[in-house]
Each structure stands twice: as C-alpha cells, then as structure tokens.
Amino acid sequence: MIKALGYFIEIIRGSIITARHFVVNMFFHILKVLRIKTKRKGAVTIQYPEQRREIASRHRSLHRLMTRKDGKPRCVACMLCATVCPSECIYIEAEEDPDPEIQKCPAKFIIDLSRCCFCGFCVEACPEDAIRMDTENIEFAEYNRQELIYDLDKLLG
C-alpha cells in the first residue's frame, strides 16, 4: 500500500512535468503570436524545407570527382576506392591515359548511390584526392533506382 502510494506520487510528478512543459511552451508561443521577442522559443522545430540547418563542415554528402587544371578527372583508376568500399558500389573501368606520367584514367566510373552507405572510406582511400564528399547536397532522392546510379558525367558535375 505504501509502495503503491509512492508510485502514485511519482505518477503525479510525471504529469506535472508534462504539464509544465505544456504551460511554458504555450507561454512562449503566445508571446510569439503577440510579436514579443524572446530569446527562448516555444519549440525547437526547424521547419525543414523552408528553414535549414547549416551542414557541418565534415558532413559526408553527395560524392564528386575532382578535376585537374585541364578539366580531366584526377582519378588514376587505381581501384583503391572500389576495393575499400564496403557496399561494393563503385565500378571502375580503366583506360590508358595519353600522358605517360599518368598512365591510367577511368573510362567508366560508376557509383551506385542506392547502395552507398556514406561511410566515406572511398574518400579516405584515394591517393589522388580525386573523390570528395563535400558537395553539401543532401537531397538527391529519386523516384526510381536507375536515377541513383551516378556515372562519370554526373559525378564530375
């Protein structure tokens, strides 16, 4: 009985907490309606499509391939990224580069983003800094999977 009474007190305290949240938040909502500026807001919601949060500088977003000065991809088709990729979603076909110093360049470079888990390993593995995930583009959802297979053109952007 005493124990049950203890529970009862805790139950009451629980509802006092939620009621307090309600009253305090309502107070700030009403102040906002009355156009009184306050430091605190009634809700922490960010109204997403209209309001956005700043993306953190180390956020991993959509991939892009870097280019040299002459506009060709920096990638030397070393396959390190394709090897390290845990989702096995990078597909590279190499061809010979006319420049003997460079030797190889990608003929095809395909990332299947429908499988990518955005781990960033490809970026870490690349010896040429040819692939980066800093486009800050986080909204590339598509209606079918075919659209999510990004090839060389799309990745060079």
């Binding site: 949240h21 938040n25 809700a43 922490v44």
Partner: protein, 357 residues
Amino acid sequence: MSEVLIILIKVICALVWLLLITLYLTWLERKESAVIQDRIGANRADILGIRAIGLFQPFADAIKFVFKEDFTPNFSKKFLHTMAPFISFFFVAVTIAVIPFGDVLRIGGREIKLLIVDFNVGLLFVLAMLSLGIYGIILGGWASNNRYTLLGGMRGAAQLVSYEVALGLSLVGLIMVYPSLNLSSIVHFQGELLFGWLPKWGVFLQPLGCLVFFFAAFAETKRVPFDLPEGESEIVGFFTEYSGLKWGLFMMTDFMEVLIISTLLTTLFFGGWQVPWMAADGFHFPWGGEWQLPHGIVVLFQVLAFNLKVFFFCWLQILIRWTYPRFRYDQVMDLGWKLLIPLSLANIIGTGILMSI
C-alpha cells in the same frame, strides 16, 4: 409539428457539435502532444496557402480516409467485420442524447430544454450504452478471424468488464447524494450551495467517487495508459484487419469516448452547465454582490461554461495520454479489481454513514 422540428434541430446541433469537436480533438491531440514535447505539430495542411496553425488538418485526414482502400480480408466474416466499427461508433455517439448542454432557453414563450431527451434514467442509459460499445470491439476482433485481433478483442472485453464494475459503483455514492438518475436534475441540484459559498458540485461531495470514476472512465476510453486492446507494440490490436474509413471510425470512436467521458465528468462531478453562483437571473455572490443578466446572456454563459469544462477534461486526458507508458496487463487488472473496486465500495459505505448522521 413544431415539437418535432425542435427535436430535429436539437439532434442536428448535438451531432454536429459531437462530430466537430471529435474531429478537432485529433487536432488538439497532435498539437498538445507537440507542445508537450517542444515540437510544433501538424501545420502543413493549407487552403490556398492559408495554414491557420493546422486547423484544416482534421479535414485533410478525413479526405484521406475516404479515399483509402477499404480492404476486407478474404478470411474474415464479411458482414460482422463491416458491422463492428459502426456498432462501436453508434453506441458511443448515442450517449450525447441525454447530456444537458444548458438549462432551458426561452424563445417566443416556448421553453426549450437544451438537451435532446430528458430521460428519467439518463445515467443508466449512458452507462448501458458505453458498455454496449465493447461489442463493437469484440465483434471486430472476432470477425477479423485473426488470432491477434481476437486477443485484442478479448483483452478489451476483460478490461471493460473489470472497469465497468468500478465505474458503476463509483456512481452509486453520487446517486445516493443526488437522489435522481436524471442528468438534468443532477445538474440542477449541483447549483445549490454548500455552507453558503461552495457550489454543491459532485467533486466536493464525492471526491473519492470522482477519482474512481475518472480512472475507470479513462480505462474505458482504451487510450494509452490503458490501451491493452490495442497494444501497438505487441499485438497491434482488434483493428489490425481494418483499413480506410472503417479504421477511421474506430479511431473516431476513441476520440469520441474521450469527449463523452469529459462531458460525463463535467455533468456528474463538475456542475455541468452551472457557473458558480449564477442563477437563472444572474450572479448572486456569496459575499453579497449581485449582477443581473438578461436571459440570453445567462444561457450563453451556461453553454460556454459547459464547453469550457469539457475542453479542460479533454485537455487533461490528452495530457495523461502523452505522459504515461502503458500498464502491464496484470497491473491493469490489479488496479481495477484490487484498488478501484474496494475504493468505490468504501465510498458507498462512507457516503451512507455520512448521510445517516
């Protein structure tokens, strides 16, 4: 002829009130839970770009329900499966018939009582209808022909049977104090004063009964601390096999029960349409002031007071729903049989002793 017309108008008004408030209870639930959890809540439904803090959301939901596929599984018992939501909806909605919204309204020498039927046994009628509502749930669970729905239905039945007892017993004390089962005369009685200043509301005369009634009635609504028939995380509940508008009816019934419980609580324990110290001709304050008011204003005050009290209890129920996790099944049964029923029995005995001395 005009009698029939008046009844018709009353029925339509009461139904519109009931359905509209039920619709907006869904809005209140979403918004209130949002405010409790530091969110904003549904605010995107708009008409021509006007959002009006999500006030159109219930209608958007309703339109969505109408256009959803109404799926009846092959293995279900088709007729009963279709009947179930209507049964549970009907028996809850019909209770509004005996709830007094206000005192009499005098227009053109005619006295109109602001309730649909002035039943002598209104209280029993409400209790009977509320308990019949469970048939819809059992039927839904049974007719779906699915083990989980059946489990949900049986849980609902067990829960309602155990809480019905406490609900009925908690009101016995009340009936002893107000020797009437007629809801409008119960409300009239609550207009009198205790010690010359305290309104004779049920909550002051029967605090224990009020508490037991509130808990038992809350269990009747089958909402979260007591949502065992539903049990979202374990059995999904008696309406697993429902979709579209039929599921919507079950959901509406839940909200309507919240509303009906609020109106009952208001009518029985919080003075119904009574405004403290207001009589038919205006306010008579216990400290000796008077404030005469015309008849129309008095009726308006009464209806407003009723609505305000109902709104407060809806708010309270939603607050409770968003505060507590679900009880375990045995805890619910313990609470019903080992706490609420003994308390309500003690209440009856205490009331009897107090009344005899």
